[in-house]
């Protein structure tokens, strides 16, 4: 098999798998609507890519339901439980592609056994340990992957989380918007290959930065992880305006900065782009409408008609394609990254 073929296939399957995710989640709609709890706090958690979908999904959930929501790595929950157990009415959303990630199971057990939390798991494996630990599970089997690096599983579980939030927030309009995502994804995949192809042709980049805020902060961090895992290059993720406060010291002529343009902070972001350009960075803007096209070196317009809470899964596609194409260009196989396995299980003080 050619290098990167697994990853390429899984990226390109996203439109159809996203449809499956919407169907699978829709079938659990009645259970989601009639939970035996009125949550005062909702906690999303997972490790690696699932940590970043937790960050993004918690912002969406907060926006649609008004209920206090936060995302965290699971290790923080069982090592430092206090911030997560202030109320007695806790709803938790553990996220794990394999359904076997040790920390995610351990955090869920802590919540269920010691804090009487209600739990809904998100996974690609319905027969996993996670599925046995939670009250019920939303499983997207079509999102299972052969590649170590998550692509379609990340976006599909994120869409399942968005769909669940729309049900709990009784937001029909948002749900209708989610249904547009699969068709939009096809176009974004095509545009991503076009734009990233040009970047790779003039590839002198050895430092990558991804910037996003609100629901797109998790997307920026997931993008960072794609580049680190697949391309093994120095990559960072930040909230856009935070990047000015120190990290910009690292900019040189090998720096490529990707901004996920928000709806809320356009004027600040334009100001930021001007400064980053002056410092010598190459700029790539992923935006809804291309408003900042003239200020950037590369531009990809999503043209989704969706707000930043709904379009989040589309935004990560260009970074998935960057991971694939930059890796191949450097002779690295993105299907099986250095040092990594598909599932992380921890011993606890084992020799």
């Amino acid at each position: 098999m050619r290098k990167g073929e697994l990853t390429r296939k899984e990226i390109e399957q996203q439109p159809s798998v996203w449809s499956s995710a919407l169907v699978e989640t829709g079938e659990k709609k009645e259970r989601v609507k009639h939970l035996p709890i009125e949550p005062e706090e909702v906690i999303f958690y997972g490790s690696g890519s699932s940590h970043y979908s937790a960050l993004s999904a918690s912002m969406v959930y907060q926006e649609l339901t008004g209920v206090r929501s936060r995302g965290t790595p699971p290790s923080e929950i069982f090592l430092f439980p206090r911030p997560f157990t202030v109320t007695e009415e806790i709803l938790v959303f553990p996220i794990s592609r394999s359904g076997t990630t040790t920390e995610t199971i351990e955090a869920t057990t802590e919540f269920v056994n010691n804090h009487d939390a209600y739990s809904i798991g998100f996974t690609c494996h319905p027969d996993s340990d996670l599925a046995e630990t939670v009250d019920f599970c939303i499983s997207i089997e079509d999102a299972r992957e052969e590649s170590v690096v998550q692509t379609k599983s990340f976006t599909s579980m994120l869409i399942a989380l968005q769909r669940t939030a729309s049900t709990m927030g009784e937001n029909e309009k948002f749900f209708k918007n989610l249904e547009k995502l699969p068709a939009k994804a096809k176009k974004v995949i095509r545009k991503s290959y076009d734009t990233v192809g040009k970047m790779v042709d003039e590839d002198d980049f050895h430092h990558f930065v991804f910037l996003g805020g609100g629901p797109l902060y998790g997307i920026a961090m997931e993008s960072m992880l794609k580049m680190e895992e697949m391309v093994l290059e120095h990559t960072e993720g930040y909230h856009p305006l935070e990047y000015r406060h120190g990290p910009k010291s690292m900019i040189d002529d090998e720096t490529l900065i990707t901004l996920y343009a928000s709806d809320s902070g356009v004027e600040y972001e334009e100001d930021l782009l001007r400064e980053l350009k002056n410092l010598g960075a190459t700029l790539f803007v992923v935006s809804e409408n291309g408003r900042m096209r003239g200020m950037s070196d590369y531009s990809l317009e999503l043209e989704s008609g969706l707000d930043e809470f709904a379009r989040a899964p589309l935004c990560v596609i260009p970074a998935q394609v960057m991971g694939l194409e930059f890796a191949l260009n450097e002779g690295v196989n993105p299907d099986s990254p250095r040092h990594l396995q598909g599932v992380i299980k921890l011993g606890k003080g084992e020799k």
Copy 2:
């Protein structure tokens, strides 16, 4: 002036400035005790280093008071306010060395004007914009810096935040422990020069990682920022167990990983160290008692007698010294990093 002299002076002033921070904060004790609000939520925010002291301080506050606490960059507050305005009884702690950081002022104005929040500012400049915006300010003038990069201002404002948390949590024992910090700092500074001196002598490191959880996550991130700003090398910060989920792909024989050992997760951390060692990283453990000395290449024992919530400011000292000494070793002047200014003010759509 020799390169790095400002930074060196400010690192070494920490024991005496920490005493000033405790005195200044103590003098505001009665005001802190008798706030005209019973907060249901406390929000800590700042940019750059102050973002990371916000993350650390919010964990301390949560632990000591039981009141829901979180840390965030200020841009998230005014661009995506919903997660921060769920309750009507909000206490906010804006943090800004200069007291003029645009985003921190803007977030404070949002809270005060639109959400009737009560605000206590933390700064080194009592006559600043921040001081005029908040209900009252805790100002540590001795923590003002000539260097662009924050060292003593970060730790002193963190100690002021810890002291405030101990007052609000009526935790006399924790307060007594904070009073031990200045004397402990002297020893940790000396040990840091010793240990970092050895590292620099065999410096083949071009990739630095800092790992810490709970109250030490903010410390790991601040350490990351010190290395980026001063040394301009590829540096990352993570929760310890999260580092396994992808980022470890970047480990090679030029990687130096610093772990801030916790009290809560020792067994997990020992397991982690074994794996990182097998992947070829060089390991530096900053711990209370040296339990993991045999598993690491470099070890610094704080021997403070303090728990992880109290000893957080001590932990960052080795990273400050790493920034200074690695920069000098590479011929970079840590007093005036590339691209950076001491104060960040933003235009908003200005040309």
